[in-house]
């Protein structure tokens, strides 16, 4: 493991473009190869804002992000996003079959050098406990859990370096959640390629399972948490949730 982080956020901050309210206070965050980070915090505290900022999906009001020690320039953003993959809570599935969905990335310029590999897709589906027929399933017939599994396979087949998982299992049944966790574990353990993940979760037990480094987000402030997660933050989270939802970051509000 080298000293240079895979992803290095230097004092990134974000305001609501309409109200001017601070959504993410200036935040420093370095993600090294081998890191498995979990972030917990009340709804609307800025977790999604932070994750989307890391994926460079929203304009930053200050700060910048470096990738392998180099600041990410405009033209390099699609390439950066290929390697630092953002998985949303609600998967966006295109019309057609699961396979059509898995083929979609290969139509993009950023993936000109690679080809769709059905065998690989099928083996990923098998890891999630689905047969090869899963690839031929119509998108309209997928359950919520299956849609998220399809969306995750769509990303994992591309072998990204970093996964940014924004509550990927928040509304899923336990079986699908386990399948998602299993896929991420398998991706992380593959070969000697540098890998790192950030997982946003409402579930302290899941956060413990999926991480060795724990952070909390509260009113746009990201804090390192020394102690492992206990039951207590969960109770606080519920208490704080209601009050905090109105000052949401705009991402969750429109979903």
């Amino acid at each position: 493991m080298t000293d240079i982080p895979l992803v290095d956020a230097k004092d990134i901050a974000r305001r609501d473009p309409l109200t001017g309210q601070m959504l993410l206070q200036p935040t420093r965050f370095a993600l090294h190869a081998g890191d498995r980070v979990a972030i917990t915090g009340p709804s609307g505290s800025g977790k999604s804002v932070f994750m989307r900022a890391l994926a460079l999906l929203d304009p930053l009001d200050s700060g910048h992000i470096s990738w392998h020690g180099k600041r990410v320039e405009r033209t390099a953003i699609p390439r950066y996003r290929r390697n630092v993959a953002y998985i949303r809570q609600r998967p966006a599935i295109l019309d057609g079959t699961v396979e059509d969905n898995l083929r979609y990335p290969f139509t993009l310029k950023a993936y000109r050098d690679v080809r769709f590999d059905r065998a690989r897709a099928a083996s990923l589906a098998a890891e999630a406990g689905r047969g090869e027929s899963f690839l031929d399933k119509r998108a309209s017939e997928l359950s919520g859990g299956e849609a998220q599994i399809a969306a995750l396979i769509r990303v994992l087949q591309l072998a990204p370096e970093v996964l940014l998982l924004d509550e990927p299992t928040a509304s899923l049944d336990p079986e699908s959640s386990r399948a998602i966790e299993g896929l991420v574990h398998a991706w992380f353990d593959v070969g000697d390629a540098p890998r790192a993940s950030v997982w946003v979760s409402h579930d302290p037990a899941q956060a413990r399972r999926m991480s060795q480094r724990h952070l909390t987000m509260r009113a746009g402030v990201l804090d390192e948490q020394a102690a492992p997660f206990e039951a207590a933050p969960c109770a606080r989270e519920i208490a704080g949730g209601g009050a905090a939802t109105t000052r949401d970051g705009g991402q969750e509000r429109t979903q």
């Binding site: 953003i77 996003r81 295109l94 591309l158």
Partner: protein
């Protein structure tokens, strides 16, 4: 053959027909009576006004009178083009004016100077009605195009976001909505071209025939006009959709969804 004179009394007689619409509105509780009355009044006032203005402009026949009138027509079309749709963004009016102006004037210039070859170059009897017809149709295309683009981007926001997160360029992410929007903007003109002469006799052609022109010549003019309209509305629609795209996607390959606001919200602020 001479044109039958229409007195103001004859016009008033025709205006009684709007009573049919009013009766329907009342009978079916459409709640349109007030709107109908207002629309009827506008029709009368606007057309009478333009009649006087055109009479004066044709008589005066100077470029510095014709050109400003054409600019005013273009601006009105541009502003009207920005009024559709439940969602809008800062700069929609500019985009509408710019795309309508550029496409209509370019195509009108081709029609007037290269095809019809008018003399002098500003001859109002040709320049004004032809630009007017082009503007009216381009305005439809542009407003439908922008409306569809903002609608598609709102409805497909998740997909656009997903594409960007996978590493799509901004154009790759916006392509499908943009394509739908251009299609939506061009369909009225295409439909019109498909039924012209069979279902509808266009107003200009009808006018020329009523004025005693030979139908064959009137038809030739109408064909030219149809192609001018088709070209201008296609150019205008594509231009408007591209301008909308540039407003809503940044060079950093981001979709600036927060710029898309509901019209009502904007009015309140």
């Amino acid at each position: 053959m001479s044109l039958q004179n229409l007195s103001l009394w004859d016009v008033a007689l025709a205006a009684l027909l709007i009573v049919v619409n009013g009766a329907l509105s009342v009978a079916l509780k459409l709640d349109l009576a007030r709107k109908l009355a207002w629309a009827a009044v506008r029709t009368v006032v606007q057309l009478l006004a333009i009649g006087y203005v055109l009479g004066w402009v044709f008589q005066y026949d100077r470029w510095f009178v014709v050109l400003p009138l054409m600019v005013v027509m273009t601006l009105i079309a541009g502003f009207a083009g920005a009024q559709r749709g439940t969602r809008t963004y800062a700069g929609q009016r500019e985009d509408s004016v710019l795309s309508i102006w550029a496409s209509s004037w370019l195509v009108a210039a081709v029609g007037l100077f290269i095809v019809i070859r008018i003399h002098p170059w500003y001859e109002p009897q040709y320049a004004i009605p032809i630009l007017g017809m082009i503007l009216g149709n381009t305005l439809t295309g542009v407003s439908l195009g922008i409306e569809r683009m903002t609608e598609e981007l709102t409805a497909r926001r998740d997909r656009v976001d997903m594409a960007l997160a996978l590493g799509a360029t901004r154009w790759e992410a916006a392509q499908e909505p943009a394509r739908q929007a251009v299609r939506a903007g061009m369909i009225p003109t295409l439909n019109q071209m498909a039924v012209v002469g069979v279902v509808s006799l266009p107003g200009m052609m009808t006018g020329q025939v009523l004025a005693g022109q030979s139908p064959l010549l009137a038809v030739r003019y109408q064909i030219v006009i149809m192609f001018l309209i088709a070209a201008a509305s296609a150019l205008g629609t594509v231009g408007a959709v591209l301008l909308t795209y540039r407003r809503l996607f940044s060079a950093e390959h981001r979709f600036l969804a927060s710029r898309l606001v509901e019209r009502a919200t904007l009015a309140r602020r």
